[in-house]
Amino acid sequence: MENPYEQVHQSILSRIINNVERLNESVSTLNQELQHINARNVNLELMGQMCENYHKSAQFNMKTTGHQREPL
């Protein structure tokens, strides 16, 4: 006697496999997008670090030379 639920289970499992494949593809595309964005944001981070260093050096220079003023 054949189990009537076996076919149902197999069909659902095949659907699940299909879904997992599509999901894997979409996640890989999302990963690529995020990698591109990260590569651009590293440059932005470096710019921010340079700005911060410039601010620190400017502050130090103004303090040492005595040209620092209060904010308006």
Partner: protein, 249 residues
Amino acid sequence: MAEESLERLDQEITLHLQQIDSNLSYCFSKITQDIIPHVTKYGAVCDEVMDSCNWLKVMFQQAGNLQIDSVARPGSPEDQQALESHVSEGSLQTLFPGKPRVSADSSSVMAPPVLQKPTLSADTGDITTTTGQVLQLPDSSDEERADDEHTNDTVKSSIGDDADGSTMQRQRRKRKMSLLLQQQFGSSSSSAVPSPAQLTAPPPDSNLDSSPLRKTDVGQSESTKKLAAPPGTVIHFSTRQMTQDSLDE
């Protein structure tokens, strides 16, 4: 009883499988329809931010050039700052060409530090190589002149420092050249030491007479150097050294 329990278990299994399937499909639709468009929008915004901050990059690079060349020498904290900015510039140099959009600007901007680094290395290398080979010095000085002209064209504010440094280094090289020539001719010449001959001869005549003597010495002792470079340069430096010696004496 066993059949009923089996049937119930199968129904539960189908229900769980359907739930898993629906969850996976929901995940897929969520990622493809909601997340990826927003992420692409975010990437576009980051691109815009990067483009609008491009002037900052140019400013820091040119400012870093000036700091590295002239300003970074005296002050210690400024020196550290310049080093930090230089390090960040180095990482930027490695990072920016990977990006396709900014590469056209970055390649034109990146050129000055790449050109100015070899001058520093060439300066130190020439100083070290003066002990070994003498006749490569005028070539290096010419290169340094060319580089100095280039830097003067690019950066106009650092003319005085570079010119002073180059003149000082040229004078040092000329002194080293003269010292090496003295050592070589004092050792290689089989006759008496040339300095007594200079002492006996009157100063203007000694200049005129000694140059062919020096030329013959060069031709006799070292033929490879005569082949390597014209002897006129060597005589030129030797006469200057002789005038300096005569003035000192």
